[in-house]
Symmetry: C2
């Protein structure tokens, strides 16, 4: 069934993650956590996603901790070689990288994949990260976002530094490049100073699809200014709708229109052929849950020691709004807890931790494929989402069941594509190739962007 | 035919490079320079190399200029997904990168490829590079090598920071990692300060195969200290033998033995079924040669203006030994010219430039497959090489003819493998997996490397 003009269709990304998104997924009998570092495991997941016509897969990243993941540029490039239409989105942080390297690697990945790359822009969040790069402490939250803004601006200018027709390869005349189509950028900001041009042609997509996942005030503003896809954690439709309206409402001040950004909340459906079957899987996953470890992890993430508090009493004062203001940690995740407490002030520490552990505060739902499709349809129709960032609770089964059971249901309802619209990620997401700032005005010689 | 114990066998790397290694390759009718940025082009070359049982392919890199190449981590990762035995060597510079990022990406590539990665360690060489990273000028030559030494030491410690059996995944007990097998490195040198551990397990090969290509005094010393494969430009057997003896002779002071390093001079054979046919191809390539452009490129590379000098008079004073001492450029390439002048003091500027343009000063030879095999055999027997870094003058034909005509001849002579010896690059090169510094002494808890 093809799409009707009146029916909003869903976009889906799949968030790759070790054995699955439930914190206890790796202990479930059906998962094989040893495969976390095997390429063939990710290849199988990517081919499943592509069989299901999903828009993209996404690999997160960080520069500290025990990891449990392959590095995104290397993994996504390898996946590019074995897939054809699937988008390939990777996290790359702006605080400890060089814009030139990041622009170059994305230009290369975009070319290798024929225009299927996406960049999830993050600023990182712990002092522990800083220690791996010779720094004494992590940058303060708003300072990180200022760096990120500059970083993204530099990479965009570098991608523009080759006009599309800069490559000539005129064998008879012996001319490889049209020098007038290569541009120094001579960027000089408060943080970065980069001459350019980049040493690889502009990506087929112009820029990789720009993705943002911060839901703090600075994160939302950076998203409105820069992002084309937003990953976000919205545990209820009410919160999803508020976030959706908030972010789309910020676009006008940057001269952007609501269709230039796709909001994809995380969604972790536990799917069973019957409700009872789905509930059984949820219970089984929760039975592997180790609450002490999760409280320790949460403590590390927020830089607040939450151990020792009673589990079944209301959450400790330290997690409440007053305590949060001073923390240079992950404000988005803090906001999530505030949202939970706002909707139910009596939540216990155990309840908060349980909700975060199921899918780290993202939307969860346990039910049949029909019911999962209902949830998706409702979020689309009520302006809560343009689609979802799928976070299967366990891999590979959680993805298989979505592809084999939910996708056909959505297709029958006219809510999902029955074939890829195009060859690039931008084409499948309905996003335009950004104009090259140099192409219109380029006359001759080396022009400067500043 | 299997190898005899008395017969030294060759190892071969293939140096990937746009349309080919002859400077005019892109103008030859058989090449398609437009494919330079197409993954399928490199995939075809890699599959040819693997069909020929070659040890590895190599992708160079730089952070300035018009590039004409895909970025190594992304390209090699994509090639990993479509090959099985072929080694994948990439250049990554030490002056403008972070050891943590480089260690992490190589660990990931090594894992994706099942132990087939190699790292060509370079220090970079122009101020133009510095301008793309917010720096005013490039580091001075010996300072760069000091940074490189530290950089490599940090990455090795990071690779060791996970003992091989750190991953446990005990579902019953709920234990994913053995914390006592993860180690902070707490490295604190003059340049780098890195806490660790790395956030990905140790590479299957322990470390990627470490490659070095600097042939300056500092380069040779870094090679003797660190490298397991050396790429080098040695235009004659006499020079090759001297270099071979020099580098192998330096190993003892680092407690290493001659078999722990493989010396692979660059080799650009122009192959024809008859001598006349080969000569015809060489003449054809030279007919596309644009000497003015090459003099300009040489000027840029050395930071010396060579334009305006008479082409057919002896080389200008500025290129002679006195002029070279002060240049913070590519000393190895300078040394090459000195070597040329030493063997023939009357060389003209045109002759020097012609020799560099054929294969940038590497060994060239024009002849039949039998004659090419003779050259290889002689270099092996006279201690000039452990094999070669193949630099086909034109792609893909120059590689095809080597694989289809020279490889079988070498196999018939017992000079090349008839099947891959192993699954990893180390196994095929006959190099051991380095011991993990933490494994022997690790008792319990977090140990420090310093």
């Amino acid at each position: 069934m093809s799409s009707s003009q009146d029916t909003k269709q869903a976009h889906f990304n799949v968030f790759l993650r070790a054995a699955g998104h439930h914190a206890a997924a790796w202990r479930h009998p059906s998962t094989t956590p040893e495969l976390t570092f095997q390429f063939d495991y990710y290849k199988r997941l990517a081919l499943t996603a592509e069989r299901g016509l999903l828009d993209s897969v996404f690999m997160a990243d960080g520069y500290v901790g025990t990891g449990r993941r392959l590095e995104p540029f290397t993994l996504l490039s390898a996946l590019a070689a074995v897939t054809t239409n699937l988008g390939l989105i990777g996290t790359v942080g702006t605080t400890y990288n060089e814009p030139f390297h990041v622009a170059r690697k994305f230009a290369s990945l975009d070319r290798i994949s024929g225009g299927r790359s996406g960049w999830n822009i993050v600023t990182g969040h712990t002092d522990e990260t800083a220690f791996n790069f010779g720094k004494q402490s992590h940058l303060e939250h708003s300072e990180r976002y200022r760096w990120a803004e500059e970083f993204v601006e530099v990479t965009k200018q570098l991608w523009d530094s080759w006009e599309e027709d800069a490559l000539v390869f005129d064998k008879a005349k012996g001319i490889q490049f049209d020098d007038s189509k290569l541009h120094e950028i001579n960027y000089e900001g408060k943080v970065y100073k980069v001459k350019g041009p980049l040493n690889i042609p502009r990506p087929p997509q112009g820029y990789p699809v720009l993705v943002q996942a911060g839901s703090s005030e600075s994160g939302k503003e950076l998203a409105a200014q820069t992002a084309e896809v937003v990953f976000t954690a919205q545990p209820t439709l009410a919160e999803g709708k508020a976030f959706y309206a908030d972010v789309k409402g910020r676009l006008a001040r940057y001269g952007r229109t609501p269709d230039q950004i796709l909001i994809l909340p995380g969604f972790s459906p536990i799917i069973g052929d019957t409700r009872a079957e789905a509930q059984e899987l949820e219970d089984e996953l929760n039975s592997f849950h180790d609450i002490d470890r999760h409280i320790a992890a949460l403590s590390e993430r927020f830089g607040i020691d939450l151990t020792g508090y009673p589990l079944d009493a209301p959450v400790p004062e330290i997690l409440n709004p007053k305590g949060i203001e001073d923390v240079n940690g992950s404000k988005s995740r803090h906001q999530l807890i505030l949202d939970m407490l706002r909707s139910d002030a009596n939540l216990t520490l155990r309840q908060v931790v349980n909700r975060l552990s199921a899918a780290r505060g993202h939307l969860t739902f346990t039910g049949t494929p029909i019911e999962v499709a209902d949830v998706i349809e409702q979020w689309l129709d009520e302006q809560g989402a343009d689609g979802f960032n799928l976070m299967p609770p366990i891999y590979p089964e959680g993805l298989d069941s979505f592809i084999d059971k939910v996708v056909p249901e959505l297709q029958n309802r006219g809510r999902f594509r029955t074939a890829y619209e195009g060859a690039t990620l931008r084409e499948n997401l309905g996003l335009a190739v950004p104009a090259n700032r140099f192409s219109a005005s380029a006359a001759s010689g080396i022009a400067s962007a500043n």
